[in-house]
Symmetry: C2
Subunit: 462 residues, 2 copies
Amino acid sequence: MPLIGHDLIPGLWPSASALLATTAAGAEAETYAKALAVAVTLTTVMIFVAAQFFGEIAVRIGLPEVLGELVAGFAIGVSGAHFLMLGNGGPVAESAVAIVQLISASDTTTIQSIFAGPVKILVDEYAAIGVGVLLFKIGLEADLKELIKVGPQAASVAFAGVLLPLVAGFWGLTAIFHLPTIPALFAAAALTATSIGITSRIMQDMGVLNTKEGQIILGAAVLDDILGIAILAVAIGVADNGSVELRSIVGIIFSAILFVVGAIVLNKLFGPRYINFLDKLKNRYSLLIGAIVFLSLMSMVARTIGLEDILGCFAAGIILGDTPATKRLEAACEPLVALFATVFFVTIGAKTDLTVMNLADPESRMGLVIALFLTVVAIVGKVAAGYFLVTKDPVDRLAIGTGMVPRGEVGLVFAGLGAATGALSGAINVAIVLMVIATTFVAPPMLRWVFARKSRRSGLTS
Amino acid sequence: MPLIGHDLIPGLWPSASALLATTAAGAEAETYAKALAVAVTLTTVMIFVAAQFFGEIAVRIGLPEVLGELVAGFAIGVSGAHFLMLGNGGPVAESAVAIVQLISASDTTTIQSIFAGPVKILVDEYAAIGVGVLLFKIGLEADLKELIKVGPQAASVAFAGVLLPLVAGFWGLTAIFHLPTIPALFAAAALTATSIGITSRIMQDMGVLNTKEGQIILGAAVLDDILGIAILAVAIGVADNGSVELRSIVGIIFSAILFVVGAIVLNKLFGPRYINFLDKLKNRYSLLIGAIVFLSLMSMVARTIGLEDILGCFAAGIILGDTPATKRLEAACEPLVALFATVFFVTIGAKTDLTVMNLADPESRMGLVIALFLTVVAIVGKVAAGYFLVTKDPVDRLAIGTGMVPRGEVGLVFAGLGAATGALSGAINVAIVLMVIATTFVAPPMLRWVFARKSRRSGLTS
């Protein structure tokens, strides 16, 4: 930018021809800017149109929408049309490049570099915002009081529901399939956390959320989310250090526990005061902006002490939850989750290379066998956990275990982060995604059957 | 990502040491990813904290919040702490780099390149999302029916209020200050559009929005927004072509008019059907996602036919406005505007180099004289426009003219886009920003005085 002395005094103004030359020199930069803008817009439109299309189909055939978003990712990503390529499987499809070229008149090499560089950075960041705000919102919605009330019952289910699939999965993957420790730990960890979003939405649709079983499922789902994220932190820490060191495990577990316990304590001491402070500010969106600042800082704190960003986002949600303003904050987060978490789920699908699963190839069939094993452990482990429920009340243990089956978001987070650390090979990553898809697909009909059976029985006994 | 054959069969698994080596090789990439995440988080936090802090001060002393956001940009940008550097004025401040280094353990050169590259791309994109969604929402809120009702009265004020400052500004800048055509056109164009957001908020606070004067001001502000954006398109087109060609002006004006008229026609023919279609989809955020897709496509259409992106976003808002679902869509857009438009206003402040205005330097004083000239033309032009009102009703023409004074968003968009095209030198850009600040600062007290005088008079005559 020229100094004022060269511009402002009439005699010193650049002549018209000099200005023209500047414009001509800037033409290339402008073509680049145009190509970038078109590439970003095109990518965004493709992500949202595909997510809406497959999400709509999923909902219409009675499946959770998140499955449609994953399938949308398969369709436009490395497994499908190659429109959304995020670091593996080569360049973006020629047709996408051609559209950008048509509007921006840039060359194909530049456009490919735009897709591989800035567009990838932006989409990855949108996905990070999405999963961050999603886990923040799950934290906000985690009703700590209700959890304490359902108390030991939910805790017993949650612990059993985390330990059974974790131990059975880890044992099977190392003993039967001879996987090394780290991938086995990641894959087993991905079996632990129930999707609170999916299970509560299914139960709400079925009108059973307010039954005793529904409340215990919800409480246990919240608790195994916390446990699951702590285990995720352990798994990532272990993967980062390259080996399983007891001291580092203890350190990470300690940090994670301290972090979660700290969040629960801060929920009483700090959360209401911070929310109150934000609510007194004159900007009516101070609540949202202040919350985003806080979750950003918490993600940085988590990162600094060696935990994952998303644990920070989740803890931020726990801390700011359960105040009079929480509902408003949840509502303000919803559009952000709707847009950015959609990008997150689509990118998980887009990065998943399903073509490595080739049925003609005996090694690929082995990958499918692992996926099948993970799915069986995931379902049996959670259903069995229902029978570990410690209670004297007459509750349907099968219904509770079944309600814990869908993995969804957190399982996908495990898959995505596991792949990002480099600990998970493509095939294991695909096996985890297939497990998540399978558990999320089977849960709605299973739950429908179990609760129908339960109401038939109540009909007979009452 | 290794192929499945090398991973899945037990004998072919990489040994533990090989896995360790992979992790070590990935360590550098991970340090980079960590530095990037911390730099992005830090920048976001700084933008929001500064915006909240200065926005709060602005509101508490009775000024529009957007002024606080501009000042926040001055404070953290090139005029201030150098925390947010977006392409001019050198590297990011050492202290910001040190914070990133503390957490990520990356080297300073890498961190500087992260701030200059990915962080700049992300912040620029957030700002683009912000101004896009803001203009979409202004389009949504533009009540076409109401505008047609207040009709010729608002139109007469709007046209006079656009032409007077445009002509007087352009004449003065070229004849008195001897500026070349393009910068003079840009600076004069920036004088045209009233800030509908600011003026309606001021009138709402004063309880005069529903007076006849308030309604005419609102209608005229909507109309001169449309005219202003059309003039902006002309100015940018002219700057891009490097000279004032009658044919290109006619072409651009024709496109802009066709675009806006097309939007009004599509508001009847297409908007309600598209909204109705989106509302039938099962995802409760289909409305928002579908609107984002539509505004993205419209911004691409605008770009393709040679207009600016934001005109596409505004037209998308006009088209989807005035349906039963519009209020819900506005509400869903609000959190996005709250977050991303804040980034936009802060970046405008951050990019504005106020240090070029050095009072000890006679040339700088010349720049301040231009700012003063622009401000006087901006205020006198709009106040005078009130007296061009064609009506037989007894209305307060001074109040109407005064209500048109605040420029705000659209004026800042002109400054930002003008600087982006390279047509505006730093000093002229700063002069425009100072004019926007001055008009937005003086409008609230002026309006308060005018409406107080009016009610005193009514008190005497009634």
